[in-house]
Each structure stands twice: as structure tokens, then as C-alpha cells.
């Protein structure tokens, strides 16, 4: 009983046969010893034993089960051994382990965080039932020279809604900002006027009471409102007795009939407190000239987007023929609601996804490279294991286990980084989008993290494991572990090239975004971008029914504010710059030839006399407004340079007239001045034709006060609040912001994108530098003897250094070249995010490779210095 081995080393079927045959042989021997001849002994043995083949079949089956169990146990044992071995070997190389895990964790964490944002915004449907059926419906004025989608007119909406064959419902809405003056402090609310089937179109159900229906559109029925869940909780403490309560909104009574569910989101970028039905016949008011409605529609289940588009286009062209005066060249423009909501975010998120993917990829390549070195350093250890009987499959498995342990550790840490990051990276998405598509971490993101961890493990682990296991272990052992097959070294050298190429791509992307952001920061807005406060004030219609009362109240308010010593000056404008406000009218130059296909829209603002001065807009020609430009006086206006050029090309616009339409009785105003062009909507927005009108000649209840503080912001804010209280105690306190914060908001996202991609590019560059350094240092250490011999034979040390640097330079050249080609192809993907630079921006495409080239040389410099200082005697003797 000397040799004992694991049972399963003998194939189970053979084991059974041997065992049974052995039994029979002994039995026969026994009977023969008892005196029987062989034939009778065999017969007796067979009888005694029973049916051999049945026994054998039964035993083999069980034997196979036993073997399967054994294999599993052994596999688990080996895995435990491998993991323990891996942990031990990591403990022996803490520096390598730390770098590897951190590289992976940062890469995986960044990818996880960005993916959680992408998944929440781009990949998840909007929070409505069958959300893919929802589309935003716009008027198409592109043939009239207006590139942006245009809102709809009430009569057009009614026609489109009633005549289409592809929508199961279509609803219109517009902003509504009533003041609540009943029950408690007065409060300015945000809300929407909606057509009755608005909630039906979105597929919303009430949390309490009922929602609006088409019956509420009838001007004859009781006026009712529906509350948002947040407003209901904030103002009424979530009290269900709010139903049937009457709220005074803008001085009129509205009965509360319902509350929306907590998770209901309007598809608009702003939050809403209240909703009421439009209660207006579709053809009332300003008719087909007045673009006031935004429209959403729900496609019939069997209708395609293209069918709906052509359906509405047909209707639009019919209307255009019927009402050419208003609707000529007005088309239909459909945008899937998901695209409408997430719109501009997509390009940025895709760019960031690309950036983090590249960082992870470079990290993986770096790890592969590190592992190759590690593998080379461990050839001796692995040779010993091979000599002790481990097959090469077993060694590959051991190495893969080590890599899997690394990947898992990196993935777990990355997951933590990703969860933290997904909370903070929400700011990558405009608040308006985040309001509809909330960003959170879910199972899908977890699966993604697991997936990229596996993928990363495969990318960085497989190649080095195979490479190492393929090495000639026995040869290594004989050579005392000194000889290194050339393959590992070359492979590492080649791995640097993709690293450098990927880093170039990232660097170019970061460069383009950074240049865009810097250009945007330097843009001249055309007006002051610091030192004033904006305060929005809204007067209720009930107490300020006419122009005289509005102007009186505003004059009084401004006088009170100006009288306060903490204020230097105060003016007002109906729509402040850099806010979402946007109003335009059709204007025609009186006595000038028709503008042909030109778009006759002009964007207008009503301002007080000192507004231009206050905002540092400068008058280019003519005069600014004075207090003499009052209601009842001659109607006057100031146009900007762009409008002057468009309406009166080559002529002096001063004293000429603009009419608000072609109608003979249209109101006309006389141009008294020209003001400079200004970027009213932000640094990356184009100039528009603009018209300024004296506030007293076109007053409105909602205005923005523009106040320059003489001391600090807080004192000026208090001054504004107390002046408003003295003017009308029932007007809600104004919301005050600095112009600096509004300006900052406009560049906030570009800044963030540039910063993030910049950080990723820096990481990529650092990783690539490490890669280059590693390869060069390794090459030098492998060539020590050769270098020593060359030095001994009289080579100049500087020539040795040059040779090393040239080698690094060649790698850099190759990597940078490939990277530049890739960047030229990929740069186009960034186009939507760029401002003022082309996707082929020459400086970026020059600086990025230079930067990387310099870095490569720097990373080669240290090994090159070391090569130069090799002591020939020591180098040769060491061998």
C-alpha cells in the first residue's frame, strides 16, 4: 500500500472494470484453492457474483457523479489556492498592486459615473406611459429664415389637432405665472395654461381628485386648477381637504379639483405649481399671427413618426394656401419628446462617455504593460512551479486568477467611486433635463460596472498571462533567470503606441473644448456683465388693470428704490437679458421695398429711460430714451445695429418708421437711436435684430428691476424688498440674482465639460507617460550589457543617450501620428459642443501632439540618463 493518489486520476469506467475484474479473479482463485477446476470455479464465481454487466453499469453511473463532485471540489480548492497565492504575491508587490487597483478603480469609477448619467438621461424613456409615442410639435419657419423651431398659434393648433389622422391626442400649453393672494402670504406661482387633454396626452392620473379634461376648456364652466404634489405639500401640508377650496390667483377665484402624483413631471424644463385650462376659444385673441403655444402630441399606436410628420406637413400646407398672409411658408416640425427634452445634452454625454472609455482603455494597456514586466520578473518563480509539475494551463489559470483578483478589487473600488460620482456628475446635465429625467444609480448601472470590470480584466490580463505562460520556463531555469525572451520586450514597446494614440485623441478633445470655453469666457456680451442685480416683480392684474396704473406703480417703485442710499441707480426692463425670456413681433420698415423672403421678426424689449446707460449699452447713433418719451407721446424706438442694417441697409435709420404689420392701421414707431449689438441670450448665441421701446409706451405687469448697488448686494436687496412692500404689500417678494451669476450660468456647462475632459486627458497623459517610462527603463535595463560593451569599446555616453531618446521618439511619432488621424475622424463628434473653433482647430492639433511628444521625451530622458551612466565594468562583470 505504498502508492496512493487521488481516485479521480483513474478514469471512472476503467476503475469500475478493474475493481470488478479483481473481485472475480480473487473469487475464482479462492474456489480453485478449494479444489475446483478452473471452469467450475469460474461458473461458481459468476453465480456468486451475480450479473456483472448490470453491476458495472450501475457503478459507472455513480462513479461519474462522484468524479464530477471531486472535480468541483478540486477546482474550488485550486481557486482558493490561486487566490491565496495571488494575495500573497500582491502583498509582496504593494506598489504595483496599488497602482494597478487605482488605475482600474479610477477608470471603472469614471465610466460607471458617466454611464449612470447617460442611462438616466439618454437611455431611460421619459416618465410617461408609452413615452415613445410622445412628440413635441412646432411650427416650422425655416423657409422664413428662422432656424429655431417656432411656437404655434392657437388657430393653427386647433386645425392641426382636429384635422390630423396620426395623433391619438394633441395638447397645447403656455406659461402662467399667477400671484396667489388668498390664505397666507402672497406668493408668485409658476404654472401652465393647458388645453383640456394635456394630462390625457401625457397619460397622467391624479393622486387626489381629478385632472383637467376637455370639458374645462369651455369658458362657461367653473374655473378650476390642479396642483402639483410639491406645491400641495408646501402650501397646504398635503391636506386632502384642499379639494373644492377656492384659491385667489391674479385676483380671480379658482377651485382646486385635483392634485398630481408625486412622481409626475412636466416635459418642460421648469417646475410648475398649478395648472389651469386655457378656457379660451382657439380662434380668440391674436389669431394666426401670434405664436404663443407649445404643443405636444401622442401618436396613435400604429402611426410612425414619419407618417405623423407628413400628415401635419400636409395640413400646414393647406393652411398656408388658405391664409397666405399669416401662414405662407409655415410648416410643421416634429421632434420626438425624448430628443426635445434631452437635446443638447446628448453630444456632451457621448463625448464624455468616449473620454472615460479612452481613459479606462489606456489604463488597461498600461496594466497589461506592467503585468508583462511583472511576468518577465517572475519567469524564475513560474519556472520552478512548472518544474514541480504545474502544466502551462494551470499556470495561465493562476495568472488569470491574479488578474481577476486585481480586476475585482479595482471594480469594487470603482463602483464606490462611481456611486459617489453619479451623485455629483448629475450637474453635467442641465437642471431642466434633470428635473424630468432624475439621475440615479440602479441595477442596470451595476450590471454595466460588472461588465466593464470583466472586459477590463480580459483586456489587461489575457495577453500578459498567455505571454508569460508561453515563455520557456525550463530554459529560464537553466539560465539562472537572467535571459529574457525578446518577445515580451517588443510587445511592451508596441503597447505604448496605442496608449500614446489614445492620449492624443483625448488631448485634442480636451484642447478643443478648453479653447471653446476660453473663447466663450472672452466673448464681449455688448453690455455690462457685473455690478448689477436683477429682481423680478410681477403686479397682479386685478389691482393693475390698465397701463396707467402699471406705469404709476413702477415709477413709484423705482423712485423709492433710487431714494435708498444703498442703491446707486435703478431701471427696469420687461424681459431681462440672459433669462429665458424671448419676445418678438413682426416689423416692417415703412416706405422701404419689401424684404422678400426675409424673416421680419424683431426681438423687442420695453425699458425705462436710463436702462441703456445702466446696462452700459452704448448709443451708436441718435439718442437714448428720455422721460419725455411717455405714453400718449409720439411712439419711438431704438434699434440695434443688426436691425438697422437689415431694415435700412446703407441708410441712416434715424427718423425712419417701423410698422408692426403690413396693415394700414398698424401702429408705427419712429426710430430715434441705434444701439450696439449685444448677446442677450448668452455668449454662444447669435446677435438678433432688436428693438427697444419706452416702458411707458408698452408697459407690462411682469418686469425685471435692474439695480446697481452702491455698497453691498445684501443692502440693495433689502432696499428693493422694502420699496416693493411700500408700493404694494400684497405683491410677493422678488427673486434677486446678480448678473454675475447669470453670466456664470451661461458658461457653466461648457466649463464643466472642458474641465472634465481636461482631467481625463491629463490622466491619459500621465498613464501614457508612465507607459513610456516603463518601456524605456525596461529596455535600458535589458540592454545594460550591450551598452556596457559599447561604452567599453569607446562609444560616447551622449550617443548612447541619444540612441535611447531616438527609440522613445520613434514610439512617440508612431503613436502621435495614429492618434492625430483618429482625432481628425473623431473631432467631428464634438462639433455640437464647440464654440468659435472648428473641429480641425489648427492650434489644438499642433499643441496636443507637441505636448505629448515633449512628455514622451521627458519620460525617456531618465532611462536615457541612466543608460549613459552605465559603468561598463560592472555591467559586463554582472553577467
Amino acid at each position: 500500500m505504498t502508492r496512493r493518489g487521488p481516485l479521480w486520476r483513474i478514469p471512472p469506467d476503467r476503475g469500475v472494470d478493474d475493481e470488478l475484474a479483481g473481485h472475480m479473479a480473487e473469487l475464482i482463485k479462492k474456489y480453485m484453492a478449494d479444489g475446483l477446476d478452473e471452469t467450475s470455479a469460474r461458473a461458481k464465481a459468476a453465480e456468486r457474483f451475480g450479473d456483472v454487466s448490470t453491476v458495472r453499469d450501475e457503478c459507472s453511473e455513480i462513479a461519474h457523479h462522484i468524479e464530477d463532485d471531486m472535480r468541483k471540489i478540486e477546482y474550488a480548492q485550486e481557486l482558493r489556492q490561486d487566490v491565496a497565492y495571488a494575495l500573497r504575491s500582491f502583498r509582496r508587490a504593494p506598489g504595483f498592486t496599488l497602482i494597478a487597483i487605482l488605475t482600474l478603480a479610477i477608470g471603472i469609477g469614471a465610466n460607471t459615473a458617466i454611464f449612470s448619467v447617460v442611462r438616466s438621461t439618454l437611455l431611460r424613456p421619459l416618465p410617461y406611459p408609452n413615452a415613445e409615442q410622445l412628440v413635441q410639435v412646432w411650427s416650422d419657419h425655416r423657409q422664413r429664415g428662422r432656424e429655431q423651431p417656432e411656437w404655434m398659434t392657437p388657430p393653427d393648433f386647433a386645425d392641426w389637432r382636429d384635422q390630423n389622422h396620426t395623433f391619438s391626442s394633441m395638447a397645447a400649453y403656455q406659461g402662467w405665472f399667477p400671484d396667489l393672494t388668498s390664505g397666507g402670504d402672497p406668493e408668485s406661482l409658476a404654472g401652465f395654461l393647458v388645453s383640456g387633454d394635456f394630462f390625457k396626452t401625457l397619460g397622467a392620473a391624479p393622486a387626489l381628485g381629478r385632472l383637467l379634461t376637455t370639458a374645462d376648456d369651455d369658458p362657461g364652466v367653473e374655473p378650476v386648477v390642479v396642483l402639483s404634489h410639491a406645491f400641495w405639500e408646501r402650501r397646504f401640508g398635503g391636506d386632502s381637504s384642499v379639494l373644492r377650496r377656492v384659491l385667489t390667483l391674479d385676483g380671480l377665484p379658482y377651485t382646486v379639483v385635483g392634485v398630481l402624483p408625486k412622481d409626475f413631471r412636466t416635459p418642460m424644463p421648469v417646475a410648475a405649481d398649478v395648472f389651469r385650462a386655457t378656457r379660451r376659444p382657439a380662434n380668440a385673441g391674436c389669431g394666426r399671427g401670434c405664436v404663443v403655444l407649445r404643443v405636444i402630441g401622442r401618436l396613435m399606436p400604429n402611426a410612425t413618426f414619419a407618417e405623423a410628420q407628413s400628415d401635419l406637413s400636409d395640413i400646414a400646407s393647406r393652411i398656408a394656401k388658405e391664409y397666405p398672409a399669416s401662414n405662407d411658408k409655415v410648416g410643421a416640425w416634429l421632434i420626438p419628446l425624448h430628443e426635445q427634452v434631452t437635446g443638447t445634452t446628448k453630444a456632451a454625454l457621448l463625448a464624455l462617455t468616449g473620454a472615460v472609455a479612452l481613459v479606462l482603455l489606456i489604463g488597461c494597456v498600461n496594466l497589461a504593460s506592467l503585468l508583462l514586466v511583472r511576468g518577465a520578473g517572475r519567469e524564475r518563480e513560474l519556472s520552478v512551479r512548472a518544474a514541480l509539475g504545474a502544466g502551462s494551463g494551470r499556470i495561465v489559470r493562476q495568472l488569470l486568477t491574479e488578474n481577476a483578483v486585481l480586476a475585482l478589487a479595482g471594480g469594487a473600488l470603482g463602483l464606490l467611486i462611481g456611486i459617489g460620482g453619479s451623485n455629483t456628475l448629475g450637474v453635467l446635465v442641465p437642471a431642466g433635463v434633470r428635473r424630468v429625467q432624475e439621475i440615479h444609480f440602479d441595477g442596470g448601472v451595476l450590471a454595466f460596472t460588472a461588465g466593464i470590470t470583466l472586459l477590463a480584466g480580459a483586456i489587461f490580463g489575457l495577453l500578459p498571462a498567455l505571454q508569460t505562460a508561453r515563455g520557456n520556463f525550463m530554459g529560464t531555469l537553466r539560465n539562472g533567470g537572467r535571459e529574457m525572451g525578446p518577445r515580451g520586450g517588443t510587445l511592451r514597446g508596441r503597447l505604448v503606441v496605442p496608449q500614446l494614440a489614445l492620449a492624443v485623441v483625448l488631448l485634442v478633445g480636451a484642447g478643443l473644448l478648453l479653447r471653446s470655453f476660453l473663447l466663450m469666457e472672452r466673448v464681449d456680451f455688448g453690455y455690462r456683465t457685473e455690478g448689477v442685480l436683477f429682481a423680478t416683480v410681477g403686479l397682479p392684474q386685478s389691482r393693475y388693470p390698465d397701463a396707467a396704473r402699471i406705469v404709476g406703480a413702477m415709477d413709484g417703485l423705482l423712485a423709492r428704490i433710487r431714494a435708498n442710499p444703498s442703491v446707486r441707480s435703478a431701471e427696469l426692463v420687461d424681459e431681462a437679458p440672459l433669462t429665458a425670456g424671448d419676445q418678438d413681433i413682426t416689423a416692417i420698415a415703412v416706405g422701404e421695398p419689401a424684404q422678400g423672403d426675409h424673416n421680419n421678426s424683431i426681438w423687442y424689449r420695453a425699458v425705462t429711460a436710463g436702462y441703456m446707460n445702466e446696462m452700459h449699452l452704448h448709443i451708436v447713433a441718435g439718442r437714448t430714451f428720455t422721460d419725455a418719451d411717455r405714453a400718449g407721446g409720439a411712439m419711438v424706438g431704438i434699434v440695434n445695429e443688426q436691425a438697422a442694417r437689415r431694415y435700412w441697409p446703407g441708410k441712416d435709420p434715424i427718423g425712419r418708421q417701423l410698422a408692426t404689420s403690413e396693415a394700414p392701421d398698424a401702429s408705427k414707431l419712429t426710430v430715434v437711436g441705434v444701439v450696439n449689438n449685444a448677446r442677450q441670450d448668452g455668449p454662444n448665441q447669435p446677435y438678433k435684430s432688436e428693438l427697444f421701446i419706452p416702458f411707458s409706451q408698452l408697459p407690462s405687469r411682469g418686469v425685471t428691476l435692474v439695480v446697481e448697488p452702491s455698497r453691498d448686494i445684501a443692502a440693495a436687496t433689502t432696499a428693493i424688498r422694502s420699496a416693493l412692500k411700500a408700493t404694494d404689500a400684497f405683491v410677493p417678494a422678488p427673486h434677486v440674482v446678480t448678473i454675475e451669476s447669470l453670466v456664470g450660468d451661461t458658461t457653466e456647462l461648457p466649463k464643466m465639460y472642458a474641465t472634465l475632459v481636461g482631467v481625463f486627458a491629463a490622466m491619459a497623459m500621465l498613464l501614457a507617460a508612465l507607459g513610456v517610462y516603463g518601456v524605456m527603463a525596461y529596455t535600458v535595463s535589458q540592454r545594460r550589457r550591450e551598452i556596457g560593451v559599447r561604452l567599453a569599446l569607446g562609444a560616447e555616453p551622449s550617443a548612447i543617450r541619444r540612441a535611447v531618446l531616438v527609440q522613445g521618439g520613434m514610439l512617440a511619432l508612431l503613436g502621435v501620428g495614429i492618434g492625430l488621424a483618429a482625432a481628425l475622424l473623431l473631432g467631428r463628434a464634438l462639433r455640437a459642443l464647440l464654440f468659435g473653433v472648428s473641429a480641425f482647430d489648427a492650434p489644438t492639433f499642433v499643441i496636443a501632439p507637441l505636448l505629448l511628444g515633449a512628455m514622451t521625451l521627458l519620460a525617456s530622458w531618465i532611462p536615457a540618463q541612466r543608460a549613459m551612466r552605465v559603468d561598463p565594468i560592472i555591467a559586463i562583470r554582472d553577467e
Partner: protein, 111 residues
């Protein structure tokens, strides 16, 4: 067939006999058969082939362990030995068997 001989053991009883046999030390299949034969004066008269499925089953249940060894004549033999789990099983089955015998004795004596 294997277990339908006149004195065939009831299913399960064979397991107990094998466990008991192995409680004296590791044995191979043939030795187990001989031990049963000599201890019972061949009263049980089992078909020796039926030992093997029982042995494999008990090995699968981890009551007994098997390993390859070498006989005195240098032949490869498979040796079975009791595992701790098998020892526990042996105790439990022995107790159950004793209870059964006592119960049967009472039934038969009452007649």
C-alpha cells in the same frame, strides 16, 4: 437479479452491514464480501456483485471514502474506509436496527 436471492437483504440493511464491516478498518470489495461470509457463516448469502452499487452509492454520499492502493501481490485494489460521516451513520442505523429487532421480538412473542 442481484438482490432477489432467497436470503436477500432488505434494501438498506446491506448498507449497515458494509458500514459495520468497514468499522474495523479499510477493506476492498472482495475482503468485505469474505468478511460478511465468514462472520455470518454465509447465512446472508448475498450476491457479491450487489456490494458494489452499494459501495459507490455510499461513497457518493460521503459515508465512505475510496482510494487506490496495492494488494500484497502488487495488484491495484480499491480500498474503502469509513468517513466520520459514515461512522455517525453507522451509529444511527445500528440504533434503529436494534429498536426494530426489539419491536419485532415483542410482536412475535405476543402470539
Amino acid at each position: 437479479m442481484t438482490t432477489t436471492a432467497p436470503n436477500a437483504l432488505v434494501q438498506g440493511t446491506l448498507d449497515l452491514v458494509i458500514l459495520k464491516t468497514l468499522s474495523w478498518g479499510p477493506r476492498h470489495g472482495y475482503a468485505i464480501a469474505r468478511w460478511i461470509e465468514s462472520t455470518t457463516d454465509d447465512a446472508l448469502r448475498i450476491e457479491e456483485g450487489s456490494l458494489y452499487p452499494a459501495l459507490y452509492r455510499m461513497q457518493h454520499r460521503r459515508w465512505i471514502a475510496a482510494e487506490w492502493g496495492e494488494s500484497h501481490e502488487g495488484r491495484r485494489i480499491k480500498l474503502y474506509s469509513l468517513t466520520p460521516k459514515g461512522r455517525t451513520e453507522l451509529r444511527a442505523q445500528t440504533a434503529r436496527w436494534g429498536d426494530c429487532v426489539v419491536a419485532m421480538a415483542k410482536v412475535l412473542q405476543s402470539a
